[in-house]
């Protein structure tokens, strides 16, 4: 695709994006002044944000299409330290992802935020929602460590306040605290990584020039320090991306936030972390060691498999989606890890294939996860229910939402013709086409990884069969669900658009790969655009036609024709369709309690993969007659599934902090004279040391 660069019109893409960032920031600062006209304000405010996001989307989309790189300098900030801004295909790609999703979510928010009016002041959302989007775009635009971290913090802090929005629930407060702690541990690690890269850049400590990415890029790092910088960056960005075992905050914080924010956090914010890893490893450090790729691959596989397993056993719809985000980030990391390995071995074409798969999946995940979270938000809005055990039968009341949610579920389960299939298929191709490498370890790891990825894909499909089946099909399990109602128009449009995009991304993969070819060539110096569309736009052939090819348009045509034939044959005869309750075998009188529920659906997976969870299963039987166990009365079954990593990794740290706190408390006497004596003793000791 050769999009006409806006530069010919005399406007720089960067300036357009910066303008929309300014508009978003302005929205955030103006929001508090409208707190007494909430309804009018919401109808006006979110469309403005949607517009700003769309402008930013359009500019970055065109910039990636034409593959240009723009540097820009904003003379603001600390003296002698202007903000360096750079729009290159990599940042442009992620800005496209973030602002496209923000555009959809902002449309959705018009209706969604109105549901809070009267229950809670909406000014918190109104202030921090645009700041959050602006923070993400600022992070992606930054070309020096300071501006990057500034954007990063704006993003972290504003999302913290958004997670905390429904603060009357103590669980949400706990989730927000956990989130902000993890976010700052991660930010610290990123800061240290930048410091390592800047300090060894050879520019010296006197000027701030070492902190620009340009200086870091051109610096020569010793293998040891490059490794340290990579590891710190990977930990920091990994904490934000929610890779196992740094994922614990994610299933707490994402569900706690209002659903539009959850959609942005899962769909867009996690991608900024992916961007960070790509930027540091490929662009700045040039993947100089093999173990980086291996580490990323292994962590990615672990996240994918653990994420999906936890998603399967989850009963809370939004938590399920959050765990599925962990899984999808894992899949993206797998692609990136493969790309890094191939890059190290100088196999540009394969590396380009793997990195394209990862980027494609990042884009896809933003679309369908945003869509699914918005769907969950609609369900929450209609039924006030997040627990799937109390849902069911929503397809009758919420036709639109169900259809759109189904599209999202199909996409995320990697079923053609939707987009999830394309990117996962590309990742598989990268696995399958890897030739035997010189490293024995890798020859073992890569087939194993492919197998694990296949398992993940299947389990994820099963998780979404459960999510859709239990919540939308069958009979309503609670009164709220039986009285559910469809969402307002703005919410439906906000969900419908990404569903359409999901389909388009699935049907026209070659065009998308063409569009993002500039990003792939920036990262690995090669693209698969040429071979991918070697057989016309309708066929996707990653490397060569004899190896593998996929034609989504043909497939879509096939599916449509089958559907049409089925429809015609069914409706050809009149009275051919009877609506009867299925599964009642003629007995009649099925109650909602006789259905498969969420826990029972997940039972097989829970049995097979039991050792991954901390399960607490209790069965309580009330005896009908006190002394005869022959006549049991009511039975109560309860199940608690918890993350093993919490007990393994986090509890020891928390305990250690408390122990240290207790020790320190012994120094605290509450007597001011003792405190003064401490300082006095310190002064004397310091003076003695001078002697």
């Amino acid at each position: 695709m050769s999009a006409p660069a806006l530069t010919t019109l005399g406007v720089s893409h960067t300036e357009i994006i910066l303008t929309s960032v300014c508009a978003l920031l302005l929205c955030g600062f103006l929001a508090p002044f409208f707190h007494n006209r909430e309804k009018f304000f919401t109808s006006l405010f979110f469309p403005v944000i949607a517009l700003a996001s769309f402008v930013s989307f359009a500019a970055s989309f065109l910039a990636v299409g034409s593959g240009l790189t723009e540097n820009y300098l904003i003379s603001a900030g600390l003296p002698g330290l202007p903000f360096h801004v750079r729009l290159d295909p990599l940042s442009g790609f992620f800005i496209t992802v973030v602002s496209l999703l923000s555009f959809f979510v902002s449309i959705y928010s018009v209706g969604y935020v109105k549901t809070f009016i009267g229950r809670q002041p909406i000014s918190v959302i109104a202030v921090f929602y645009p700041l959050f989007i602006a923070g993400m775009i600022m992070t992606l635009l930054a070309n020096d460590a300071f501006f990057f971290l500034m954007g990063w913090e704006v993003m972290a802090i504003s999302s913290y306040f958004l997670v905390l929005y429904e603060d009357r629930n103590p669980k949400n407060r706990r989730a927000a605290l956990l989130y902000v702690v993890m976010a700052h541990v991660g930010a610290l690690s990123i800061l240290l990584s930048f410091a390592v890269m800047a300090g060894l850049g050879g520019v010296g400590q006197e000027t701030f020039q070492g902190y620009t990415f340009d200086a870091m890029r051109s610096a020569s790092h010793t293998p040891f320090w490059a490794g340290v910088a990579f590891l710190l960056a990977f930990v920091g960005f990994g904490a934000k991306a929610g890779v196992v075992p740094l994922h614990v905050w994610l299933p707490e914080a994402h569900p706690a936030a209002p659903s539009n924010v959850s959609a942005l956090m899962s769909g867009a914010m996690l991608k900024t972390a992916v961007y960070g890893i790509l930027r540091v490893t490929f662009d700045i450090l040039h993947v100089s060691q093999l173990w980086w790729g291996e580490l990323v691959l292994i962590v990615g596989l672990l996240s994918a498999i653990m994420g999906v397993l936890y998603a399967i056993v989850e009963n809370d719809l939004k938590r399920l989606l959050a765990y599925s985000s962990v899984e999808n980030i894992g899949i993206i990391l797998v692609g990136m890890g493969l790309a890094m390995i191939f890059y190290f071995f100088h196999m540009p074409l394969l590396s380009a294939l793997a990195v394209t798969a990862a980027l494609y999946h990042a884009l896809n995940h933003a679309m369908f996860k945003g869509l699914l979270f918005m769907g969950a938000g609609s369900v929450l809005h209609a039924t006030n229910e997040r627990n799937m055990e109390n849902m069911g039968g929503l397809i009758h009341k919420m036709k639109w939402t169900s259809a759109i949610f189904l599209a999202g579920a199909l996409s995320i389960s990697a079923l053609p013709p939707f987009n999830g299939f394309v990117s996962e298929w590309l990742t598989f191709q990268a696995f399958l086409m890897s030739p035997s490498l010189t490293s024995q370890r890798l020859n073992l790891l890569i087939p194993l990884g492919a197998a694990l990825l296949a398992l993940t894909a299947v389990l994820s499909a099963s998780a979404f069969v459960k999510a859709f089946g239990v919540s939308f099909l069958g009979q309503a399990r609670s009164k709220h669900c039986a009285e559910a109602h469809e969402s307002p128009w703005s919410m439906r449009i906000g969900m419908l658009l990404p569903a359409v995009v999901c389909l388009l991304l699935g049907v026209f993969p070659s065009s998308v790969i063409n569009w993002m070819s500039s990003t792939s060539s920036l990262l690995v110096g090669e693209t698969i655009a040429k071979s991918a569309s070697g057989f016309g736009w309708a066929w996707l052939t990653p490397v060569a036609a004899q190896r593998a090819s996929y034609s989504a348009p043909m497939l879509l045509l096939g599916i449509i024709s089958v559907l049409v034939i089925v429809f015609i044959t069914l409706h050809a005869r009149k009275n051919a369709i009877h609506r009867v309750p299925p599964w009642d075998c003629g007995y009649g009188g099925l109650t909602p309690r006789m259905q498969y529920n969420s826990t029972s659906f997940a039972m097989p997976s829970r049995l097979i993969f039991g050792f991954f969870f901390r399960l607490k299963e209790t069965v309580k039987t009330d005896l009908f007659h006190k002394r005869s166990p022959a006549f049991p009365g009511k039975m109560k079954y309860s199940l608690r599934v918890r993350d093993r990593f919490w007990g393994l990794l986090y509890m020891p740290v928390i305990d250690a902090v408390f122990r240290m706190g207790k020790l320190t408390a012994k120094l605290q006497h509450g007597r001011i004279h003792i405190y003064l004596a401490y300082s006095f003793a310190t002064v004397i000791i310091l003076l003695l040391m001078v002697l």
């Binding site: 006497h669 509450g670 004279h673 002064v683 002697l691």
Partner: protein, 221 residues
């Protein structure tokens, strides 16, 4: 005034400053403390003026005037008003008895002289000998803060420490830049005001000015 006389005069004033520091430790009456504190400020201001004259540094005159204004007139007056308002006429209550405190003080002075010996050898300023006195004044002020129970006496101890720092600045480098001096002077004034409010608050919360009562604020463990 010749150079020799200046040195003599300055040392003489330093001795007086040290004397007042010990007097602060020994004094049992609060009004007495105020008077001694004012005297210390007076000697300090005089000493700065002499240094200013001898070394011909203009801005030190301003410092000297500021010291005279703040530490001899304003601060003692604020504290005097405070004490009157709070009706504290009782004696100073030490935590450690006064003779022991004095002995510790003597040890601190010896320590200071020992500590500043290298500086005395290296420095070329005519005020170098008084640096030891300045350091002892700081340490003695600190000692006063530690060993006194009542909040007002601690405030005076704090201000005496500040006097010591000022004196140290004058004797080590002929005073700090004027901007810093002005800033510090403002700080001290603000600190005195805050202390006033703080003391009132302690009084209303605990019905006493005895700081040992603040132990109750600690959470039980």
């Amino acid at each position: 005034m010749t150079h020799g006389i200046s040195i003599q005069l300055n040392n003489f004033l330093a001795a007086f400053i040290l004397l007042t520091s010990f007097a602060l430790l020994a004094q049992r009456r609060i009004y007495g403390l105020l008077v001694i504190f004012a005297w210390q400020g007076f000697f300090l201001s005089l000493s700065s003026a002499i240094v200013a004259y001898t070394a011909d540094i203009r801005h030190l005159y301003v410092s000297a005037a500021l010291t005279l204004l703040l530490k001899v007139i304003v601060l003692p007056y604020i504290l005097y008003a405070l004490i009157n308002k709070l009706n504290i006429f009782r004696e100073v209550e030490p935590l450690v008895n006064i003779p022991t405190t004095m002995l510790i003080g003597v040890a601190l002075v010896i320590f200071s002289y020992h500590l500043t010996a290298p500086v005395r050898e290296l420095s070329t300023l005519f005020t170098r000998t008084t640096l030891a006195v300045a350091l002892s004044t700081v340490l003695l002020g600190f000692l006063m803060m530690i060993t006194r129970k009542k909040a007002v006496t601690q405030v005076i101890g704090f201000l005496a420490m500040e006097n010591g720092l000022f004196f140290a600045a004058t004797s080590a480098t002929y005073g700090m830049p004027l901007v810093v001096e002005l800033g510090v002077a403002l700080d001290i004034l603000i600190a005195a005001l805050i202390f006033g409010i703080f003391i009132f608050q302690i009084r209303t919360t605990f019905d006493t000015l005895d700081l040992t009562e603040m132990e109750k604020l600690k959470e039980d463990s």
